[in-house]
Structures are given as C-alpha cells and as structure tokens.
Amino acid sequence: MGLTLDIPLHVKYIQSLGENKDDLVYHLTAHLRMNAIYWGLTALCVMKQKDALNRDEMIEFVMSCWDDEAGAFGAHPDHDAHLLSTLSAIQVLTMQDALERVDIPRVVKYILSLQQSSGVFAGDAYGEVDTRFLCCAVLALSLLGRLHELDVEKTVGYIRRCRNFDGGFGAREGAESHAAQVFVCVAALAVLDRLDEIDQDSLGWWLAERQLPNGGLNGRPEKLEDVCYSFWVLSAMSILNKIPWINAKKLTAFILSAQDLEHGGIADRPGDQPDVFHTNFGVAGLSLLGYPGLDDLDPVYCMPASLIESKGLRKGWTALPRRELA
C-alpha cells in the first residue's frame, strides 16, 4: 500500500486538542485529561516533536490537578485523586524534567496506602482493585526512585494469582485474560525483575494469537483489531523478547492504515474517528516495530527510552531495529 506516517499532520492534530474548551467532547473527557496529556506528550516525544506543546503551561496544568488533601493528582481540577492520574502526572513531569515540583514523600505515602492485604492495589481510597492499579503503583514508585519501599513479594504474589489457564493475565483473580491486563502485569514484573514468574512460552503463544489476518492485533479472542493493542501486545512481546513471533510488516501496515490523513491523528481502526489515545499507542507501536524517523520507546514505561535509561531504569527488552529513512 505504501502508506507512511505523516508526522507533521499528527503533531498539528495533537496541538489542536486543547483548543476548543467549550466543546462537549472536551467536557466529556475531563475525567481523563491528565492521561490525555500524557498520551499527547509521549506521542510527540516519539515523533521527536516534544516542544510542539508549551512546557510551562503543561506543568502548570499538571500542578493544578494536585489534590492536597489526598496527596496525589486527579485527572482535572475538581476531579478526585486517583492512581491512574497520579502516574500520568509523574510521567509528564518526568518527561518535562520537572519532578522537583512533586511532593514525593506525600505521593509515595498515597501510593503505598492503596496496597491491599492480597498484594493488589486499589485505584483510590474507595477501593476498586485491578492489576492496572498495581502497575501504576510500581511504575510510579520506580520513576520516583522509591521502589525499595514496596513489598515486592506481596505484589508479585498477587500477579501470580491473576495468571489464567490460557496463559494470559486478567484484571484480578478469575478475570478474563486481556492484552491490556497482560501488559500491566508483564511491565510490573519487568520493573520488579520477576519475569521468571511468567510461563513465557504460554504467554507468548497467547499474545501471538492476538494477530488477525488483516495484520491488526486484538485484545481478546474473537474481538476486533484495535491500534491500541499494537502497544499493549507489542510491548509485552518486546519485554519477553518475542516480537518476531508476530508479523511485524502486516502490523505496521495496519497501524499506518488507521491514520486519518485528512485531519490527523490515528484511530482504533481504518475509517474510524482518531483520538489522542490511539494516536499515542499507534506511534508507540510503530516505534517498537523499528519504523524509521521515530525515537526509541521504552515498552515498560511507554516513555522515551533514552530518558528511562538515563534514570538507570532500563530492563532487558528488545524492539525491532530502527530502519533507515528512505
């Protein structure tokens, strides 16, 4: 097909996202705003256009979401503190080299307070548990340099219980295997140097089965292909050093075909409306696949590889070699 990644167009798309603050869509997504900023910034970094968004404005927005009572970040001013938004805030501030703005002891206290007796983490004080939140806690503590305060055995013990008979991992014990949940479990184990807990062949098989004839990846059996799984599945495979188990060429072509070449951005699949979430994970997937002109991405943190390496946090993952620009 010969499609290429239209970087300037996608950069413009990301820049345009904050513009219409009166839009219904803007309000309907306020509860995800911190995450959206992280997705936008990460995509820009991978496309080597980090400065396309104003650094100071971004940092001030992040800090405006600080919930001083909780000691953590919400997704938007006047939204409750949560681990999901707290991790995104830490990731954004790390990428913007502004971590000194964070009251690290208080955030660490908040994070650790959310671990349950079973080892899983709640997402907030109201107690919903999910391996996603466990991963957020592990990544956040690691980025803050406080991983040593975590009870590793307890944490790993819970992940072990989420391993299903089909080789995958779920949101909690007894929950269906799901590629996003696989990613969060694998990433957490990678950070904790406990990848030995995984039956790597079984999981590799389950992940490889996500690829559909059209080259796209799905998240569970008999579900549709979706660009975001180009990251969730691919990063897990990268961490397991098994990217060659999937057809990289077909996946690359699939991601590129999901671009909106008129308005910019990448959608979940060809023909659908783009959004910043799929734009980020599409670009992230392409980076892991060695697409030319992109920066290296660390699959464990979904952040620039050079940054993670400079913090001494790089683990033994493998991405496809970066191809030369034509």
């Binding site: 309907l28 509860h31 107690g127 999910d130 072990r160 269906e176 057809n247």
Partner: protein
C-alpha cells in the same frame, strides 16, 4: 441548577428499570400542542419505568451540570471534613445540598458513566448517611442498562461497595479457592478489599447479581467487567457454601452452573463466557475436593464414578466444537477445558474423560485437514471450510506443543506460520507442515 437538569435528575432518582439515550432532541414524539397531562415528563419519556432521554437534551443538561457539580462537590467536601469522628450526623447536610449533589452527579453519570468523581460524591453522601445504600444499588442497576454504562468497571465496583455496606461481614476470610499458587494465605478479604466474600449474601441477592450481569452482557457483548463481577459473585457463593450447605445456596450454585451452559449454547462466539465456565468448574472442583456434599459420593461408588448431574466442561466444549467447528471460541473453550486443572482431585476425576476427548478432538481436526471437502454431517457450510481448517490446524499445533512435540524456540518463523493459519494449502503441499514436525 437549570430546570432541565433538575427535572432529569429527579427522573433518574426514580431508578428507572432501563435508561436509553434517544437520537435527536425528542421533537418527534412531542407534539407542540400536546397537553402537559399526557406527558408530564416532557421533554423526556418515561414509559412503564423505562426512561428515554433525547441525546441533545442529555448533552445540554450535562454542560449545565458540570459547573453545578463542581459547586456541589466543594460543598460536599466541606461536609466530609467536619463529619464528627463518632459518625455521620444527618443534621449536617441540608436537603438542598443533597439534592444538588444527587441531581448534578446523576446527570453527569447518565451521559458519562465513567465519571468517577460523580460516583465518588454519591459515596460521600452515603458515608454521611444522606443517601440510602439500597436505593443507590437500584440507581446503579439503572445506569448499567445504558450501553456505555454496562461496561464501566467503576459501576460494578460501586455495586460491590454498596453491598459491603448493606451486608455485614460475617467471616473475614475468602474460602480457599483453587489458587494459582500454593503459598497464598486463605484470607483475601482484608478491610477495604474489593470482594464479596464473607458478607453473608443470601441466594436471592446473588441471583439478582447474576441476573444483572447477564443483562449487562446482553447490552454490551463480551462485557469484561461484568464477567469479572460475575466471578466475584461465584467466588462469594462458593465461599458461603463451605460454611452453609443449606438448599438455598446449593440451588443457587447449581442454577449458575446451568445458566452458564445455556448462555454458551446461545452465544457460541462468547469466549468470555467459556473462560468463565472453566473458572466456575475450578471453583466447583475446589468445593468437591474440600468435601462439600454438592457432589457427594453415594455409598459404594469410587471417586472415578461420581454420577454427575451434568457433563463436565470438557464434554460440553467437545459437543459444541463438533456441532459448530467454524467458531474459533469453541476450540479455545475446548483447549481451556483440556488444560490440567490445579487441584489434584480434579486431575483424578477428569483424566479419563479428558483423554477420550483429546483423542477425539485430535482425530476430528486431522480429518478436517486431510480432506478439505469433508463436512461431517452438515456442520460445516461450503464457505466455512478454510476457516475450519485454520482452527483445526491451530488446535493440532497447540496440542503438539502441549505434548512437548513442537519446539517454539529459535523457530519464530514456525510460530508466525502457525498463527497466520497458512490459508488454503497449495496443490500438492502437505497441509500445515509444522503439524507433523517433531
């Protein structure tokens, strides 16, 4: 708050049997000269407890509720901060403030069921004693009838949070379930743990939960968090059964086992249901292994000959694969059912059946591959042959790998070929050559 949002909030507070967002602005069914009496709820529609909200109006109300909720939330937090340590004081919260919080949050949740802060505000009201948990459970049920609502993990958690408030903790431990590792302590349900174990839920409550899950899965197929919630209900039921083998709970357990089989038979592409059935069987085997009378061995019988009221998942999956071999999920169901179970008791019980089915399935898959035109009693339509061969090949590869006959390392190309399915074999090619590789 605007009149529109207030009216909508009050309708939502009735906890409608179902809620639906309707296209447009509702003008199609609201004649201008219609008297108020014929539709007192205009511009909304409420028929026999089913609420219809025109999208355009829902969005308008949403935008109006955003600042209203922001104000309400600030007020609520002030109340929460001054709540005496001895417990909530109803006098503290004004009826007006309660109404504002409830109405604005319910409008936000109608359009955006993922709005966690709105849901949290309602929990806050509950902790202040200003909202009734049973009523809120009904409201949560209403939201779960929305297409977007049915899939929200926060709503399922909300139900569990409410159930934990309504029902007291009668025991502190989640019974020993066949766990993935032997070093897991028995106690799961520490304070604040998001589970339903040890709450003393009766069979009616659990049946209601199962019914709500089932409905949510009809509204939103493959509903991930609904199935996760269902497992938590099953786990709670299994735990309760260890302490109380009265007929009510046992009936509920058997009904759930029957229900999932029936669901699978009506939804042969629903792998979520199939993997749940496998998990349920694990729980059931755990109960049998712990000596519960559910699968009591009558005098004179050995363990191997337990008369089963129903076939095992292995037999269920095998029957379905033979009937509908073009459905990938059914082959995965079979693989799941054939995997060695975790409890030694289960291994003893199931091995004869598993061996028979495994051999039968292997033979069937090989027949599908060896003769492309074989249609096995009409179960494969002409257009489906390639698909069935793909599934058969994948199954055989999986079986070979499970039996240690297929090496994957250093053979990434073979893995890709297995996953790609190979398509139609060319004339003269040995079909799916990796299958015979040792």
């Amino acid at each position: 708050m605007s009149a529109l949002s207030r009216k909508l909030g009050q309708l939502l507070a009735k906890s409608p049997v179902s809620i639906e967002l309707l296209p447009g602005d509702g003008s199609e069914w609201l004649a201008e000269d219609m008297p108020e009496e014929s539709n007192p709820h205009a511009p909304f529609l409420l028929m026999e407890g089913n609420l219809g909200v025109p999208r355009k109006l829902a969005y308008k109300a949403y935008l109006e509720s955003v600042p209203a909720f922001r104000r309400s939330r600030t007020v609520l937090h002030a109340y929460l901060r001054v709540t005496p340590a001895t417990g909530p004081s109803l006098d503290l919260v004004s009826a007006e403030d309660v109404a504002d919080i409830l109405d604005s949050s319910s409008v936000l949740l109608l359009v955006n069921p993922a709005h966690q802060s709105a849901l949290n505000a309602r929990k806050g009201l509950l902790t202040l004693g200003a909202l009734d948990a049973t009523r809120e459970l009904r409201f949560a049920s209403s939201l779960l009838t929305l297409h977007e609502g049915a899939k929200q993990s926060v709503l399922w958690h909300h139900r569990r949070w409410l159930l934990r408030r309504i029902y007291s903790l009668v025991s502190s431990s989640c019974g020993e379930t066949p766990s993935r590792s032997s070093d897991i302590p028995g106690s799961l349900a520490g304070d604040g743990e998001d589970s339903l174990c040890g709450l003393g839920l009766d069979s009616d409550v659990l049946s209601t939960e199962f019914a709500i899950v089932q409905r949510a899965c009809e509204i939103y197929p493959r509903n991930y968090h609904a199935w996760a919630h269902r497992y938590l209900c099953a786990e709670a039921l299994a735990t309760a059964l260890r302490g109380d083998t009265g007929p009510g709970l046992m009936d509920a357990w058997q009904q759930e086992r029957d229900r999932i089989r029936q669901w699978i038979e009506r939804h042969v592409s629903d792998y979520s249901a199939m993997q749940y059935a496998c998990h349920l069987e694990d729980l059931d085997r755990g109960l049998a292994a712990s000596g519960e009378p559910i699968t009591a061995v009558p005098a004179g019988h050995t363990q191997e000959k337990i008369p089963e009221e129903r076939e095992s998942v292995v037999e269920h999956a095998w029957t379905l694969v033979q009937a509908y071999p073009s459905h990938k999920s059914l082959w995965l169901y079979l693989r799941g059912a054939l995997r060695p179970q975790f409890s030694p008791a289960a291994l003893r019980l199931g091995s004869a059946t598993s061996d028979r089915v495994r051999d039968g399935a292997r033979a069937l898959a090989e027949r599908f591959l060896s003769d492309g035109s074989a249609d096995h009693g009409g179960s494969v339509s002409p257009g489906e042959h390639a698909l069935v061969r793909r599934h058969a090949a994948r199954f055989l590869a999986w079986l070979s790998w499970q039996e240690g006959k297929l090496k994957l390392h250093g053979r990434e190309g073979a893995v890709r070929e297995i996953m790609a399915g190979g398509g139609e074999p060319r004339q003269g090619d040995a079909p799916y050559s990796f299958v015979s590789s040792v």
